[in-house]
């Protein structure tokens, strides 16, 4: 079995500091343009949350040469697909266009990197604040377990740690954002030296580099902003809390701090989450959902976050099952994961399904370009995008047990119980 995908990369830095990654793959007549800015909600401060995300919205509201709704209009009218997303550690913007329309994508992205401020106004900000408040209602406030999930992170890290507040921010902070703050945020973080531009797809690298230089080269440079790291050791003492929500069934969340994304222990955490909870034959599903039928669902997963990693277990109780019973069952499984290596079959399942998942992601050009931007942004090594499978396969079962023993012990965990509030819906 071989991957018949190109892997060759070319990397250049423009004089203004823009990091350019070129990944030619001429299989389909498409180009993925993927731009990462190394700024996310972690660069906000308490009382001013939700800013990075609100700002992402403002970047779709036009720039000096692009009208208010014209970013999407230009791209959609040539059959392009575009969006952006904001995360704790970064914000990305991306579009995939027919290969002969590469210039259009470069024109749009460079215009909002270099010429955004003249087009900003209060009316656009007011409109997008309303949109984002509705986004928050739709994703969090009007969703079962939405606010308890935010509470989980408040319990896991202290108030001055940047993962304490949600990426989308609080309603009060979103409402309070001012135009002046938007301008300042842009000037600080949206500089060429704080960005990675990846092109993936059907182009000639020399020609594409010329085009990138033409559109982005004249944007003034500057030093990359200074950044503070926010590492945290495991929780020193266990944290338990019980909250009510407008739900029918109780749910348990267990959460732990782990080493950050990219470390050997983070990959161990990720593989262990798959060992424990992926598929019907996984120990958690087979025991809690299939066998004892005390859970309606169960999941284990990790966050690919840059300051610390986060390991989570979530299970929803069947009607009539107490949250205490379910929580104890989850702790038992974590205890077993620490006391002995996983069964050979479970480890093999997790390795193979991780491999299949990596292959699946590599299928689309968009995702490959996004991975290249990510590894360039976090580790200055876009080529690490091709090495994820090896990072998982080098881990042994005893290492997973050792990791569970040190990081996933009860003494270091948050246990959050959500119970029905009994009120009207």
């Amino acid at each position: 079995m071989t991957i018949a995908l190109p892997r060759e990369l070319r990397r250049e830095r423009l004089a203004n500091g823009l990091d350019v990654v070129l990944y030619p793959d001429r299989t389909l007549p498409l180009v993925a343009v993927n731009l990462w800015y190394h700024v996310g909600s972690k660069n906000e401060r308490p009382g001013r949350t939700g800013f990075a995300h609100l700002f992402e919205h403002m970047l779709f509201q036009g720039s000096a040469h692009v009208g208010t709704n014209d970013h999407f209009r230009h791209l959609q009218s040539i059959g392009g697909v575009a969006n952006g997303s904001t995360w704790y550690d970064r914000t990305n913007y991306y579009e995939t266009v027919p290969a002969h329309q590469l210039d259009l994508a470069l024109w749009l992205e460079s215009d909002r990197m270099g010429f955004l401020l003249p087009a900003l106004d209060q009316r656009k900000l007011d409109n997008q604040r309303d949109v984002v408040m509705n986004e928050r209602r739709q994703r969090v406030d009007n969703q079962p377990y939405g606010r308890p999930y935010e509470r989980l992170f408040e319990l896991l890290v202290p108030p001055d740690h940047p993962y304490h507040w949600p990426v989308i921010g609080t309603m009060e902070d979103i409402a309070a954002a001012t135009l002046e703050e938007v301008r300042e945020f842009f000037t600080t973080w949206y500089t060429p030296a704080n960005a990675v531009l990846t092109l993936g797809g059907d182009f000639d690298p020399d020609d594409a580099l010329d085009r990138v230089a033409r559109y982005f080269g004249e944007i003034p440079g500057g030093a990359a902003p200074e950044r503070t790291r926010h590492p945290l050791p495991p929780l020193a003492a266990p944290v338990r809390e019980r909250v009510e929500d407008a739900v029918q069934l109780p749910r348990i969340y267990l959460a732990f701090r782990t080493p950050p994304f990219g470390t050997r222990d983070w990959f161990a955490a990720s593989l262990l989450s798959s060992v424990l909870g992926e598929g019907k034959s996984s120990p958690l599903y087979h025991d809690l959902v299939y066998g004892r039928q005390i859970a309606q669902d169960v999941a284990a997963y990790v966050y690919p976050t840059e300051e610390i990693g986060i390991f989570l277990l979530v299970a929803t109780a069947k009607p009539g099952v107490t949250p205490e019973t379910l929580a104890e069952a989850l702790w038992d499984h974590l205890g077993r994961a620490a006391s002995s290596p996983p069964a050979a079959a479970d480890l093999e399942r997790a390795r193979n399904s991780t491999l299949a998942g990596i292959y699946g992601h590599l299928e689309t050009l968009d995702h490959r370009a996004d991975q290249l931007s990510m590894y360039a942004t976090y580790f200055d090594r876009p080529d690490l995008a091709w090495q994820e499978a090896e990072r998982y396969l080098e881990l042994g079962g005893d290492e997973l047990a050792a990791f569970a023993g040190s990081a996933l012990a009860r003494a270091h965990g948050v246990e959050l119980t959500v119970v029905p509030d009994g009120g009207g819906r």
């Binding site: 299989t27 209009r73 059959g79 697909v81 995939t96 004249e218 029918q248 399942r349 991780t354």
Partner: protein, 458 residues
């Protein structure tokens, strides 16, 4: 850079590369089973799918949920293995298996690494032909379904879809959830499942699809071996589902007194997937509410800030599915948002669309099509459409031609024939006290409560 760049207008495009739908083979085994093979290089994975004419449209009148339960039980025990043995074998290979039913059919889907193709083909045959439907698994899945029905009460978007289906499709199979109801699920017996399987899991009307990294000749031989001797029995086509006639607009409020937002839907019955105007209506819908720059999204989101996103669609099924406009809106603007949607529907029926707006929408749909075919899954889902609705091989090339050729006059006529604001149903899931005064002018209002969960304290 020496010459300053002129940024004042979008750059000129280069020359587009020609695009054709990826090549595939389509043929039948002697027993009538249809086969689609779409090999492609890239990553060493394969996706297999077996479609069976055993969808929820076949549910007996008093057995909503039966097709779904039957499909869910396919991998819970065969002649050869128990459910947990099947799961363990498949998952150990890093493969993913799913069995499910929708309105049009049942599906068994397996994604696996390229080296395991033979295992995948044998598995499809085992699950379709030899399921045993053990009592304890049936009982467990019924309980799981009942729990799922209980917690739907927490999810406003699902409540809106449910209320909409019940109102538009009263007394037809489409009235129900695929999962069934709290009344029907406990009554679904093993004998029902066995009979449903015997009647509808058969090669005539079924199709197997394989996409990804494989040799077509080898796959064909495997299919002959595993499924070639599956005995054929003729199966009656499903009867068409006809929604009751509606007269006039009406408003249905599902009361959630403390909801932070209102899930709003405006809907009426749409068209069948095989309707001759389907492609032009897809174009009309894209312009109205099927893309980010559609009229409805630009109006509700970018002009008014009522919502994070608003969209419309014709839901495609063998019989006519609903036409639905949907958005989650702030509670205090639900009435204003509904009126804006109605105004957009009226405008579409009154004024021909501008040439440039039409051209932009046409080139979006034509241009974005190759993008949707980047993955094996993307190609297979198109081939599934051909199989499910019995469509010819040139369906998608023709669809793009029809879309490219449509005129503003065509769309005006279509809007008048197929969009009917005068009979629209408005569903709003949110605080009734706040919603009733806002929506009362739009039609007679009915407010429904969310029933307490079975076993919950009153």
């Amino acid at each position: 850079m020496t010459v300053a760049l002129d940024r004042s207008s979008p750059p000129k495009a280069g020359r587009p590369a020609p695009f054709h739908f990826p090549r595939f083979e389509r043929f039948r085994l002697d027993n009538g089973l249809e086969v689609f093979l779409a090999p492609r290089q890239g990553v060493p994975t394969i996706e297999l799918s077996l479609l069976l004419p055993a969808g929820a449209e076949r549910n007996p009148r008093d057995r909503p949920g039966l097709a779904t339960l039957t499909a869910a039980l396919l991998d819970e025990g065969s002649l050869r293995r128990t459910g947990p043995e099947i799961a363990a074998t498949i998952e150990r290979l890093g493969a993913r298996l799913a069995t499910r039913a929708d309105w049009n059919g049942a599906q068994i889907e397996v994604d696996l690494l390229a080296r395991d193709l033979a295992t995948g083909v044998e598995l499809l045959a085992e699950l379709a032909r030899e399921p045993q439907f053990p009592d304890h698994e049936l009982e467990r899945l019924r309980r799981q379904a009942m729990t799922e029905l209980i917690r739907r009460r927490d999810q406003p978007a699902l409540l809106a879809e449910e209320a909409l289906a019940r109102a538009l499709y009263f007394d037809t199979p489409y009235e129900h959830l695929l999962l069934g109801s709290e009344q029907s699920v406990p009554t679904l017996a093993r004998a029902d499942v066995v009979e449903f399987h015997r009647s509808w899991y058969r090669p005539a009307g079924a199709a197997v699809l394989i996409g990804g990294d494989f040799e077509p000749a080898a796959a064909r031989a495997m299919l002959e071996r595993s499924l070639g001797d599956w005995r054929d029995l003729p199966a009656a086509p499903p009867s068409e589902i006809l929604a009751p006639r509606r007269d006039g607009r009406s408003v249905l409020i599902v009361d959630r007194p403390r909801a932070a937002q209102t899930e709003l839907r405006l809907a009426h019955v749409g068209i069948r997937r095989d309707h001759p105007q389907r492609n032009r209506l897809a174009l009309l819908n894209a312009l109205l509410g099927g893309k980010f720059t559609s009229r409805i999204n630009l109006n509700l989101r970018e002009r008014h800030g009522f919502t994070y996103g608003a969209s419309s669609r014709f839901v495609e099924r063998r019989s006519a599915g609903p036409f639905v406009v949907g958005a989650a809106v702030a509670n205090q603007v639900a009435g204003a948002a509904a009126r804006e949607v109605l105004a957009e529907l009226d405008r579409l029926r009154r004024e021909p669309v501008a040439d440039d707006e039409l051209a932009e929408t046409q080139s979006y749909l034509v241009g974005v099509f190759p993008y949707t075919l980047q993955t094996t899954g993307g190609v297979l889902s198109r081939l599934q459409e051909l199989a499910t609705y019995g469509l010819p091989n040139d369906t998608f090339d023709r669809a793009l031609d029809e879309i490219a050729a449509a005129s503003p006059r065509d769309l005006l006529r279509l809007a008048n024939d197929f969009i009917r604001p005068e009979e629209i149903l408005i569903v709003a899931v949110g605080p009734a006290e706040q919603l009733r005064p806002q929506l009362g002018e739009l039609g007679p209002v009915e407010v429904v409560e969310i029933a307490p969960a079975p076993g919950a304290p009153a």
